[in-house]
Point group: C2
């Protein structure tokens, strides 16, 4: 019944996921980001626009449609594989209605037909924030989005997360300065550094026609990493003169300094970060989780000078995307985070006998009117059985309508109580998300 | 760029939708329902299990997969067209981990390849609640789910909603009592009553082999409607003797009485309600919105004795499903409900000059730490321009870091304020959802 690559959670696990999603939404909204959702589908011509036919996307066909005719239709629909392509289309389609610079967050499922055995999901949730300008977008937003994600990650029940940042202008400036003309080849190879090591990357670059001197400089650059602006003199020591490089160093130092001034230790400059995608033009971000480096980056993105363009207008942007499912799956499957109960109910109202069920329901309604989640026990069995009904669900309190008492079934403590005034402690009222960190 | 049948909302419209979803979730959780999500896809063999090949479902194929081979694969995946089929599969796959009776809510997108010109969506959000038992499920849950939905609908910014209820045992008992052997034919035709009228339904039933006497009795039954248990003597007056009928009358009277005792006028017995689906066995529900009867039922469901079964175990259930997109689309497109602003921010922090942007950001951080959503203005333009930045977004307050004052830009009122103590009125803090009702 399970399908590999399509994760599903039990109710208590889903509570962990919901709590993560709620926290992200709260931070995004506090920072002024507006929610949008886009449809799950785009015409296949849009999805493959950047020529990325290597992406394993899912195409759609109506049951009654001819399979071959559908496959040849350029308007055939496919499921989106990220939230950036649909957001770009949304911005172009609605620009006259949006306030620029426009801050949006988007938390939705995406689908990729990749092999699930790599630990990758075929269906997963992403949480994206982007700030998009009309024609221009000030650099300070590259600091802003980093700080929003630092704040969001710091509130999650996860191990310490560090944003690793770089700037495409540095990579571009170094390439220009050392005479590497095909920057895309350089970036693509640098991106493999952590996976295959520097000597293999060197060989690959040489094989692709990059001169040895340039390739070695790029690898020297990629070794540089710092928790503060001390990377600047290290890069300068490589002896490359280039204005784009200088601009990149200035911007990267500004991002690292500003973030660490607000949240010390939250951001590192790591000059090996390349990001495969070709549309980044400024700051690029990845995020590692302490002790879970094997997960890869849990939050990535960057600055792009043209998120969207219709020929007349261009919309630059900067954004970051959290891979929520990958993160939550790790929290759940390694029991790093658990929920204090499997149901929202804080109280189970016992039922004396079926004839008096309405009395128990009345107590439940009173509690709910005061925002106390509760449920009435399903069967008027012996009270011992009704207490076990609560225990099985992790519900901490049982209310007895006959005696007008409420029992904390963990301590056994039982007291007289009035449903119109009784209030459980806050840590019992809401489901607690308990972290092992 | 727009695709017919795939609705998307602007940020302020999305706020209306989010507020509806938040309200539903709150009521469901207060009532003890646990959230689950299921994957968007099921094997096509599961989706077509009930032989409903007339459903226009979407099938999936990976880009690199051969179209004909995919079409012939019984394991081919399709997008779910409701949340009941996947929930039944989830219950069967996880029953040993679930606490029965299990209350779950599920708010997700579903997809149908129907013609969008009927005002139907191809992608839409449903919000479902179900209570499922292991082997048995007490009748009182049929009252419980109705009351949860009555509460949820009463909290939404919508016109008055009325639940119309019937009981399949009544329809079955009447059919048995008057000698109609093919109850499915009777139900299917009764379901068209509102659309085509009683004489056309009579003709259709006669054409399908139902005796005139039985058909006329069924139509007499379908005329009966009442806000209380007064329908019982009206049905009895039809003179049909049948135990299943009597049981159905008793249950329907219990639902109507119990709901109207708690929320007067919330529920009507309407004996024409048939619901097309063949798996209902007890109470069936539809919901009409006053003044928007053309929308059809916005919240429907019923009791089924076998939501799921694996041959050994059977899981009876009762549930209701709200068609959120259809409802929200009506609210938005007719301007019945609007949001007080297009962004979450309550305050825009002005920027004196770019050199002092950090000071404005510090004020923003202090406000956010006190749960006041805010954003720093993008450009250090003249204050008049910065006020218009806020105006365009509907942000009610502008904070001036130089004078340490905050201005209500609607009234022009400006006061000294400290970001660590200032608090806007509650109706400004959160986006208001304003109803025209």
């Amino acid at each position: 019944m399970k399908l590999s690559g399509f994760p599903e959670w039990l109710p208590a696990q889903r509570m962990v996921e919901l709590s993560v999603l709620d926290t992200l939404r709260e931070v995004f909204e506090l920072s002024g980001f507006a929610s949008i959702e886009t449809r799950a589908v785009e015409p296949v011509s849009e999805l493959l626009r950047k020529g990325e036919t290597s992406k394993e996307i899912y195409l759609l066909r109506r049951l009654q449609e001819d399979p071959m005719a559908a496959a040849q239709d350029p308007k055939q629909l496919g499921l989106h594989f990220d939230l950036t392509v649909p957001f770009a289309r949304y911005v172009l389609g609605n620009f006259s209605e949006l306030p620029f610079p426009f801050r949006r967050y988007q938390i939705q499922k995406v689908w990729r037909g990749e092999r699930p055995q790599d630990g990758r999901f075929r269906e997963f949730t992403q949480a994206d924030i982007d700030i998009v300008g009309d024609g221009q977008l000030a650099f300070h937003h590259e600091i802003e989005v980093a700080l929003v994600m630092v704040e969001a990650l710091s509130r999650l029940p996860i191990p310490r997360a560090t944003l690793l940042v770089n700037n495409r202008k540095i990579l571009q400036g170094v390439c220009e300065g050392v005479g590497v003309s095909d920057i895309e080849v350089a970036l693509r190879n640098l991106d493999k550094l952590e996976k295959i090591g520097s000597s293999a990357v060197l060989e690959a670059m040489l094989a692709e026609g990059i001169e040895r001197e340039g390739a070695e400089k790029l690898l020297d650059l990629a070794q540089i990493s710092a928790a503060d602006a001390s990377f600047v003199p290290q890069v300068k020591a490589l002896g490359i003169q280039n204005q784009t490089l200088d601009k990149g160093l200035e911007e990267l130092a500004a991002v690292v300094d500003a973030c660490n001034r607000v949240v010390p230790g939250s951001v590192r400059a790591q000059l090996s970060i390349a990001r495969g995608l070709d549309y980044y033009t400024g700051t690029v971000y990845e995020t590692v989780l302490e002790g879970h480096e094997d997960l890869g980056s849990i939050c990535s993105g960057g600055r792009y000078d043209a998120l969207a363009s219709d020929g007349k207008r261009t919309f630059p942007g900067v954004g970051l995307s959290i891979g929520v499912s990958r993160l939550v799956s790790r929290l759940i499957t390694q029991n790093l985070v658990t929920a204090s109960r499997a149901v929202p109910s804080c109280v189970a109202i016992a039922v004396v006998d079926e004839a008096s069920r309405a009395q128990s329901e009345e107590i439940a309604r009173t509690l709910r009117s005061r925002n106390i989640p509760c449920e009435v026990v399903a069967n008027a069995a012996k009270f011992g059985k009704q207490i076990r009904y609560a225990e099985r669900r992790g519900i901490p309190y049982v209310w007895f309508p006959d005696s007008g008492e409420v029992k904390d079934i963990r301590s056994g403590n039982q007291v007289k109580a009035d449903p119109s005034t009784w209030m459980p402690p806050k840590e019992d009222l809401e489901v607690q998300i308990l972290s092992q960190n």
